[in-house]
């Protein structure tokens, strides 16, 4: 049983925060090294297992932000502080923070796509002298879907942050932007293309059109980073669900530069 990677371990939930009506952030007891952009296989025995991105981590804890969408996540939604989750991992390659140091970093996310890069955004917001310029563009469906509001408020002090919603439904209190993320990419002024690194994470369609906008502006594919989401059952390169061409998203990804990302035809 020692070398059985697939047996999950019991972890205590230390804290729970509601982000939206459907998304909840769980602070879970966790010891061991983690990398931004990797994921854990989260389960409740008798219900099921699913891949969930590490949205943040620190001494003795991991933060997971989980959207209620189905069998397992419905059940997780009911968990409280003091309850337990079962975890295995971490899996995947994640983002290499060094890649973005001393660069003009642009991060664009759609919806829950913010979760896998939140820790990275935090890092460069806290250490803003480590990037030349930092632009952040966050898209959500509507004002009530905005995630990590406290963090966003903090980032706004240290970086150029644009928050946009597809539709604000004429909400008077909404003083950020309205429209798809692709409409705001022209607002980023790129001085030196060689210095730019772009990270795009969201739904398959959002990533497709956002990446296109950057390509149109001459950003090379090797400087655009995406994180793929695919159906996964094992997380360790055996079950075959996440395979695209000769690439296993769970072990080779989920983070790819677009030179590679472009070649992956499902």
């Amino acid at each position: 049983m020692e070398n059985n990677e697939l047996i999950p371990k019991k972890h205590k939930i230390l804290d729970v925060y509601a982000q939206t009506d459907l998304d909840i952030t769980y602070i879970v007891e966790y010891h061991g090294p983690l990398v931004v952009g990797t994921f854990l296989q989260v389960s409740i025995p008798r219900v099921g297992e699913a891949p969930i991105s590490v949205s943040d981590f620190g001494d003795g804890f991991v933060e997971l932000t989980i959207r209620k969408v189905g069998t397992l996540t419905d059940e997780i939604y009911n968990l409280n502080k003091g309850d337990y989750m079962y975890l295995r991992g971490p899996y995947g390659n994640g983002f290499d923070i060094n890649q973005y140091k001393n660069k003009h970093l642009i991060v664009v996310t759609g919806g829950t796509g913010l979760a896998p890069v939140k820790q990275l955004v935090n890092y460069f917001s806290d250490n803003k002298n480590e990037v030349k310029k930092f632009d952040i563009l966050l898209g959500f469906k509507s004002p009530k879907d905005v995630l990590f509001k406290d963090s966003i408020a903090k980032w706004k002090k240290n970086a150029n942050v644009i928050v946009t919603v597809d539709s604000a439904n004429a909400l008077k209190t909404w003083d950020d932007k309205e429209g798809l993320v692709t409409e705001f990419i022209s607002e980023f002024k790129v001085k030196d293309i060689d210095e730019v690194e772009v990270i795009v994470v969201g739904s398959p369609l959002m990533m497709k059109f956002t990446v296109l906008e950057f390509l149109k502006r001459g950003i090379p594919k090797s400087k655009i980073w995406v994180s793929f989401e695919r159906k996964m059952s094992c997380g360790v390169g055996k079950c075959g669900h996440c395979k695209i061409d000769d690439t296993y998203v769970c072990v080779d990804g989920p983070v790819f530069d677009f030179v590679k990302g472009e070649t992956l035809i499902d």
């Binding site: 697939l6 047996i7 008798r46 099921g48 969408v69 189905g70 398959p204 390169g237 000769d246 035809i265």
Partner: protein
């Protein structure tokens, strides 16, 4: 060097092996085949050589012995986990050259890919002793020669079974000892050198983006019914789903299971929210075909398909994978451009 045993003598060997092994071989199961008048030939435990169907191809591959169709991974209750046990006995399989070559593909996925060894596969795989059944001649549809998997040296014992008895040759000390009291003869297994079904396998460096989007796949939208039988019979398909279940009498206890999955069947790529990466049967066929003769090779250095042609034998729609491979080669020869 080899040995010649009568069936009665060989049955003594099987009996001896059975003391601490489960002995599996292709066995006839009556009238459940694709057409109701054809029997199924399935891998089952045997006690005597006469039960082995040596002159026909088995309908299903032996893979289910080491990757069961459904397998309990572990049980759980309020207190924790208990790993699902397996039989203490070791395993002997009577297996053909193409299927021995297929085993290497299973090993690659389960033991090498992704840097971790699959615990459940390994614990069964380690138990396996291989007795190769010589193929006297190619069966209908087989294209093992085209896939370069007609030959192998990876066996513990090789046998030529006939109604008159069994000729065998051993690659291990254990089998040589076990056989030493029988009549020595000259025997070396032969391998099939030619199949009627000759398949033109494309060179992977010729595969281009155009072939992925080519109209040649469109016919499968009408023809393939996405039943997944081609993948269940396939000796090299390895994909699986993981599911949990709980017991009615105690909802807090249950088990986690793993079950074969097929890339032809709905849901294989469906994510929460309903996004499905390959909706139509044409793109699923393209995905499977490319895995078998292109991307697996790109990653691991040899093609995944071994040409056992069980997929061709079983398809209720008479879709021939071997013809599909030929078609890919033809399209590439014509420049790979879309004919539209």
């Amino acid at each position: 060097m080899g040995f010649k045993l009568s069936n009665i003598e060989f049955n003594d060997i099987i009996k001896e092996l059975s003391k601490n092994h489960k002995v599996y071989a292709p066995k006839r199961v009556e009238s459940r085949g694709r057409f109701s008048d054809t029997d199924l030939i399935l891998y089952k435990e045997i006690e005597a050589v006469e039960e082995i169907v040596y002159d026909k191809k088995s309908t299903y591959s032996p893979k289910e012995i080491i990757t069961p169709i459904t397998q309990t991974m572990f049980y759980f209750n309020e207190d924790g986990y208990k790993e699902a046990n397996i039989d203490d006995k070791k395993i002997v399989i009577f297996i053909r050259p193409c299927d021995i070559n297929a085993l290497r593909r299973l090993d690659t996925i389960f033991l090498k890919n992704g840097d971790t060894e699959d615990y459940y596969y390994k614990r069964l795989r380690e138990k396996v002793t291989i007795i190769m059944i010589e193929c006297k001649e190619s069966f209908e549809n087989c294209f093992c020669v085209s896939m370069k998997s007609n030959k192998t040296e990876k066996y513990d014992l090789a046998v030529r079974i006939s109604d008159e008895g069994v000729l065998c040759t051993s690659n291990t000390k254990e089998f040589t000892e076990l056989l030493s009291k029988y009549k020595e003869v000259d025997f070396k297994p032969k391998f099939v050198k030619k199949n009627i079904n000759v398949v033109n396998v494309p060179n992977i460096t010729d595969i281009n983006k155009e072939i992925f989007n080519h109209e040649m796949w469109d016919e499968f939208n009408a023809r393939c019914i996405a039943c997944g039988r081609c993948t269940t019979t396939c000796s090299t398909c390895t994909c699986f789903n993981t599911t949990d279940l709980h017991y009615d009498d105690n909802p807090n206890s249950g088990e986690r299971r793993r079950t074969w999955a097929s890339c032809h069947i709905d849901g294989f790529t469906t994510m929460a929210g309903g996004h499905n990466f390959r909706k139509d049967n044409a793109s699923r066929m393209r995905f499977k075909a490319m895995h078998k003769i292109y991307d697996y090779q790109k990653r691991f250095g040899e093609n995944m398909c071994v040409g056992c042609s069980r997929c061709d034998d079983i398809c209720p729609q008479y879709i021939k994978f071997s013809s599909t491979i030929n078609k890919i080669s033809n399209v590439l020869k014509e420049g790979g451009k879309d004919g539209k």
